[in-house]
């Protein structure tokens, strides 16, 4: 039908205009003609549209319209559409459109063109003859055409051409009706004219760019609308839900496909354009989270859409079920769609029009019919409910499958569902990780990792890795996991990590409502049950059979996400815990800010333990990070102390650095090899690189202990509190509060959280449990540490009291951003593995307890003249010296310490400004780059990050300098030199923080 129309119109145009150009234009015109007609119409006529004209229906669902064009039979569909659909369409139309028609129409046109062109060409030669005939036909078919036109118009330019189109349509209709033949020509002419006019204005007023979106709906129809080009996903999703009259929309989402089988969920919090990139603006409305108990949905219409989804899933084979189940579900579908079985009306064939199974047999249809008869009296809503009650028990209900390989390269499937992660080999479930068992989810490159809570008799957490086909697949899986965990297991979504300076990993978090929230919200729904018609199954079945709807067909059918399972009570508990944790955090933040002011923070008595623990934990985190970063980072089951701390993106750069040094005994080995510094730097680099790629703009995390940061803000602390992931850390934090080094802890956590696109981490649970475990494990260490700490305390005491006076060796470093690490001996770390080291994690302030002999690290900063001297003669576990106020001059000397073999020292110098609250603002990352240079004994890594915060742009340069060597090297001098150079390089910048992290191995020899 449509083709005819198109050809006719074109023909007429051609005849009228006779331009060769038109031949080309024709296709477009054909598509546009409807629009033109609409545009012509006057507003007054609009009223007619809705009321008198059949067109409105067509308008309501563009997709249906297309179908109608394709096959006259389909016309009927539009009529089936519920009235509200129509209304909505009018809505969309009403919206202002600008130009962009070309784009929007582009796709459609393509389709239409294919249809229209052929006829056009043919038509042209015969123009005159056909015209006459066409006119006649038009007259005869006037009504039909009108409908068609309207339809076609709607399709082509669903929402864009608001008033105009409608008007045109109306006009066209009227004209057609009244003046039949002539008017048609006229209208066509007019249309062409209009088109031109439109095109012209379009170009000029480009200010508001709109793009046409198509959304394949679950009933097989297509919805299209115009969106502002920079619109976020939420805008489109809301439009679709409005169109569907759907309130309980949190279970649903929009999919787009790259390639045919890679489906991605449109993130509603981000711009569509940035997500789909060059892909066409075509989406599929699908169930994203399959409610484990559909009976708890509030509205029948929601259940209806869920049914539609499941029918698709079943018919496509994505949701396998037995013969009997196919038949039973099919029979409920019939009952819902057709009502009671009527022997008169429902003869043998009536079932074949539906598709119930991928391989539907006669036998099955007979069984369906037999069962259908038994459902007599069930209302459609009841039939849907019964359908869902049976479907939800299927083992693959709500399971979103992803192809992967296990560590041995064996093909497996990872299934994400409401309860956790399922591992399948072929059709067999070979393992299962419930959400409560999973401590952390992360991905790096094409690897996907889960860290699992230790089993009853096991001591260590284990990390299990899977190989995904590619990086994007790994990220996709990770995101699905994050979303499912949040939706089904949390009461409220986590806050995405805030902007951080150095960020590794994705900041992605689920931003929608959780199941708990959506249930709560849906309890408030107060409207009469919306009217909707269940006429779709036939079409759906057809679509499934063939490949009815473009993308959606294949792509959709293949896989989709499912979330099944049952949200358990546990979750609630966890959530509560989280809540508490948050509270604690909040409290801690307050504490934290004050803490920061103290310039030297050393571990103190009672607090020591907690600090240590924290430190340990941090170290653990660091370890993790280090592991992650290590190129082969795959870790098999020995998870040792993974850092629970890292909340989502636990791999903060800082953390990493520390990790290297701090890495807990078991895992250290990995890190050591390169010395802490290098490892860290690598990590950083990677993160930065990723940053560019990342869509997420906020990134600011610095957790670099050993790094000197110029203009750097220490936001990490504050940030920590906010992150959802942090909940896990909460305990840590709280502990920290008590301890003297709150800032540290916070910083550490922040560092841990940073994410990358390449790397993403997510820690689903609160770590309380983990901590406990760790604590136990580490008790011994702690004890030892305590001893050390006591010693240390003395040292510390001095600094606090006077704010820092330590006579000892001073190294003055004038530099903006330098971090010195003296990794004299890497080997030391190894030695110490068992006990000693817990280092700083978070960026600046953490301490580790290492036994040191006197090592000294000196840092002087020109800008803020400060001299920090640490001489540690005797023994010091680890010292963290933090100077928060740059302006203050401080000297820190640490002396007297018993004896220790290895020492790790971190000194942080930071300017006050950024401390504390800075985390609050997430700036917008403009750019980030990392440069690394190496010399014989020095490795310098420079991060340059430009951020915009509150209208002020800020450039931060963070340099990490790793000085490696043995006693022969004068580290102080090297450091001084490095700082000096840094200053020279950036004369106009100020140094906000200097962190010196020193690791020395005294070992038996007692040297340094």
């Amino acid at each position: 039908m449509t083709t005819e129309v198109g050809s006719e119109t074109e023909v007429k145009k051609d005849s009228e205009q006779l331009g060769p150009d038109k031949a080309k234009d024709n296709p477009e015109e054909a598509s546009e003609t409807p629009e033109n007609q609409k545009s012509r119409e006057t507003p007054s006529e609009e009223a007619q549209d809705s009321s008198s004209v059949p067109a409105p229906t067509s308008q309501s669902s563009p997709s249906s319209q297309k179908k109608e064009k394709a096959s006259p039979e389909s016309k009927g569909i539009s009529r089936f559409l519920p009235p509200w659909l129509k209304k909505q369409k009018s809505y969309t139309l009403a919206e202002p459109k600008d130009e962009t028609k070309k784009r929007t129409t582009g796709e459609q046109q393509v389709v239409e063109e294919s249809e229209c062109q052929a006829p056009d060409r043919i038509a042209q030669p015969q123009k005159s003859l056909e015209e006459a005939a066409a006119e006649n036909q038009h007259n005869a078919k006037a009504d039909d055409k009108e409908e068609k036109h309207s339809v076609s118009s709607a399709e082509t330019q669903p929402a864009k051409e608001d008033g105009k189109e409608r008007e045109v349509e109306k006009v066209a209709k009227e004209k057609e009706e009244k003046q039949a033949e002539k008017e048609k020509r006229e209208t066509k002419e007019v249309q062409t004219a209009e088109i031109k006019t439109e095109s012209i204005p379009q170009k000029s007023p480009k200010k508001i760019k709109t793009v046409q979106c198509k959304v394949m709906l679950l009933d097989g129809t297509e919805y299209s609308c115009d969106l502002e080009k920079r619109a976020k996903g939420q805008v489109l999703f809301d439009k679709v839900c409005e169109h569907l009259n759907l309130l309980e929309k949190d279970y649903f989402g929009l999919l787009f496909y790259e390639n045919s089988d890679q489906k991605n969920w449109l993130d509603s919090s981000k711009e569509i354009k940035r997500q789909i990139r060059s892909l066409p603006w075509i989406f599929a409305f699908n169930v994203k989270f399959y409610p484990p108990d559909p009976s708890q949905l509030t509205e029948d219409i929601t259940r209806y859409f869920l049914c539609l989804q499941l029918r698709q899933d079943i018919a496509s084979g994505r949701l396998p079920c037995s013969f009997v189940t196919h038949a039973l579900l099919g029979s409920y579908t019939l009952q819902a769609e057709l009502g009671d079985h009527d022997p008169e009306e429902h003869r043998s064939d009536y079932i074949s029009e539906f598709q119930f199974a991928p391989n539907q047999t006669q036998e099955m249809e007979e069984k369906v019919a037999e069962l259908h008869k038994t459902h007599r009296g069930l209302t459609p809503a009841q039939a849907d409910s019964q359908f869902l009650e049976n479907a939800k028990r299927l083992s693959m209900y709500g399971v979103d499958l992803h192809h992967a390989k296990d560590s041995e390269g064996v093909d497996i499937m990872l299934g994400v569902c409401a309860n956790g992660l399922l591992i399948y080999k072929d059709r067999l479930r070979i393992n299962r990780f419930a959400w409560p068992k999973i401590l952390k989810i992360s991905y790096k490159r094409s690897n996907f990792y889960i860290k699992v809570r230790p089993a009853e008799l096991e001591q260590f957490e284990s990390t299990i890795g899977f190989k995904l086909p590619n990086h994007r697949a790994a990220k996709r899986l990770w995101k699905v996991c994050v979303e499912h965990h949040t939706f089904f297991r949390l009461v409220s979504p986590e806050q995405p990590p805030k902007a951080k300076f150095l960020t590794l990993g994705s900041k992605f978090r689920y931003s929608g409502r959780t199941q708990a929230q959506t249930r709560q919200a849906s309890n408030l729904i107060d409207r009469p049950a919306p009217y909707f018609e269940r006429t779709s199954s036939k079409r759906v079945s057809r679509s499934l059979d063939g490949a009815p709807m473009g993308i959606s067909d294949q792509g959709l059918l293949r896989d989709f996400p499912a979330t099944g399972g049952q949200a358990a009570g546990d979750k609630i508990i966890d959530i509560e815990a989280a809540g508490q944790a948050k509270l604690k955090e909040g409290g801690r933040e307050e504490d934290g800010s004050p803490v920061k002011t103290p310039q030297l923070e050393l571990t103190q008595d009672g607090k020591v333990e907690s600090e240590e623990e924290e430190a340990q934990q941090k170290s653990l985190e660091e370890e993790i990070t280090s592991i992650l970063f290590s190129k082969e980072g795959f870790r098999a089951g020995t998870g040792g102390p993974f850092a629970a701390a890292s909340v989502g993106p636990a791999e903060g750069a800082a953390g990493e650095e520390t990790a290297a040094s701090a890495a807990p005994p078991p895992q250290r080995h990995a890190t050591r090899a390169e010395g802490p510094c290098t490892g860290v730097s690598d990590a950083d680099k990677s993160s930065h690189e990723t940053l560019d790629i990342v869509e997420e703009k906020k990134q600011a995390e610095v957790g670099i202990e050993e790094t000197l940061v110029v203009d750097e803000t220490n936001k990490g602390k504050m940030q920590v509190a906010t992150d959802a992931g942090e909940t896990c850390k909460v305990e840590h934090l709280s502990k920290k509060d008590s301890s003297s080094l709150p800032s540290d802890s916070s910083s550490s956590s922040s560092s841990s959280e940073s994410e990358d696109e390449e790397v993403g981490e997510y820690q689903p649970h609160h770590r309380a449990i983990e901590e406990v475990i760790r604590e136990e494990q580490e008790e011994e260490e702690d004890m030892k540490k305590k001893e050390h700490e006591e010693k240390i305390q003395h040292v510390e005491a001095t600094p606090e009291g006077s704010k820092l006076n330590v006579p000892v060796e001073h190294t003055q470093v004038t530099a903006e951003d330098l971090v010195q690490e003296n990794a004299v001996t890497i080997a030391t770390e190894e030695k110490n593995l068992s006990e000693e080291i817990k280092q700083d994690l978070g960026e600046e302030k953490e301490e580790e307890q290492l036994k040191l002999n006197g090592d000294v690290s000196h840092v002087d900063i020109d800008v803020a003249p400060q001299i920090i001297c640490c001489s540690e003669p005797p023994v010091v576990k680890t010292e963290m010296v933090t100077i928060s106020d740059a302006t203050q001059r401080t000297e820190i000397s640490t002396k007297e310490v018993p004896i220790v073999q290895t020492e790790t020292k971190t000194i942080t110098y930071e300017s006050p400004q950024f401390d504390g609250s800075a985390g609050g603002n997430a700036g917008v990352l403009l750019s980030a780059q990392t440069i690394t240079s190496e010399s014989i004994s020095t490795t310098t890594t420079t991060h340059i990050t430009k951020m915009v915060k509150g209208g002020v742009s800020e450039t931060r340069i963070e340099k990490r300098i790793v000085i490696t060597g043995d006693a022969d090297i004068d580290h102080d001098e090297a450091l001084a030199q490095a700082i000096k150079e840094a200053k020279e390089q950036h004369p106009d910048m100020s140094v906000t923080r200097v962190v010196v992290h020193k690791e020395t191995e005294l070992a038996e020899e007692d040297e340094e």
């Binding site: 396998p320 079920c321 037995s322 013969f323 009997v324 189940t325 028990r393 299927l394 083992s395 309860n419 080999k425 072929d426 059709r427 067999l428 479930r429 070979i430 393992n431 299962r432 419930a434 089993a455 009853e456 399972g565 049952q566």
Partner: protein, 260 residues
């Protein structure tokens, strides 16, 4: 049909006594519980043919005729298959020559399947089972130190797994618990062999449990006796026990009335 079979060297089977025990077993099912019992004729060429459980897995309307892991038992399935066909079940045969599956390795909990991967049952066999019963999750459980998965466990109630106390049994239970979305209650009995019992839910009689007699496993019997809601029927199985035969081995339960 119960004669010398494959087994680890052990005490000789008292054939007459085994016969009596089996008669009792059938008598309980048929007489006491009112079940319709279809007895297959014994085939002396197939010494293990008494253990019909291994030859088929029946769930709802579908019967999977297995391919037993022991080559000497492959022919047993033919007789079983004939009977199942007569019951109008949907028959699925395990044709794949790489697949082996003994019904004794299949534990159906009512919600899902667990398939023991033992010397008798392999991954491929489990896959075919999964393909046959698509509605249900099928999880694999490694079985060591036991003939079958159900050598040390079975269902003792709608949501209750009876499990032995051996290390192998407990390990398998842990695996099953981890793999399942559902939480089962467990009934731990001291003796692995006693953990194999037969649970029936008969409309007129409620929960019925056939378990090993106190004379055989007194401690385990005490545990069973604590089940208040069950009709408990102790059954001795001393002779077949010697050839690795357990209670469930000797029957296939089918929830269907036969017109035969």
């Amino acid at each position: 049909c119960r004669q010398a079979l494959r087994r680890a060297p052990g005490p000789e089977v008292d054939f007459a006594r085994a016969e009596r025990e089996h008669q009792l077993y059938v008598g309980v099912l048929r007489g006491k519980l009112g079940l319709q019992v279809l007895e297959l004729p014994a085939d002396e060429s197939l010494p293990d043919c008494a253990f019909v459980e291994d030859a088929a897995v029946v769930c709802e309307e579908t019967a999977l005729v297995t391919r037993p892991g022991a080559p000497s038992r492959r022919k047993e399935v033919e007789a079983v298959k004939r009977v199942l066909e007569s019951l109008n079940l949907n028959i699925v045969e395990m044709i794949d020559e790489n697949a082996t599956l003994d019904g004794g390795d299949v534990l159906f909990t009512g919600r899902e399947f667990f398939v023991g991967l033992s010397r008798r049952t392999n991954q491929r066999g489990a896959e075919i089972l999964a393909d046959t019963f698509k509605d249900y999750a099928v999880s694999t459980v490694p079985v060591h130190d036991a003939l079958h998965l159900k050598s040390f466990c079975s269902m003792a109630g709608p949501n209750l797994i009876a499990i032995g106390s051996s290390e192998a049994a407990q390990k398998a239970l842990k695996t099953m618990q981890q793999m399942s979305d559902h939480r089962y209650d467990k009934l731990t009995v001291p003796d692995d062999a006693a953990a194999n019992c037969i649970y029936l839910n008969i409309p007129s009689k409620g929960h019925v449990l056939l378990h090993r007699a106190p004379e055989e496993y007194p401690e385990s019997a005490k545990v069973f006796e604590k089940l208040k809601d069950h009709m408990l029927i102790p059954i001795a199985n001393t002779e077949l026990d010697k050839v690795d035969g357990s209670l469930t081995c000797c029957s296939v339960l089918i929830n269907k009335t036969s017109e035969l």
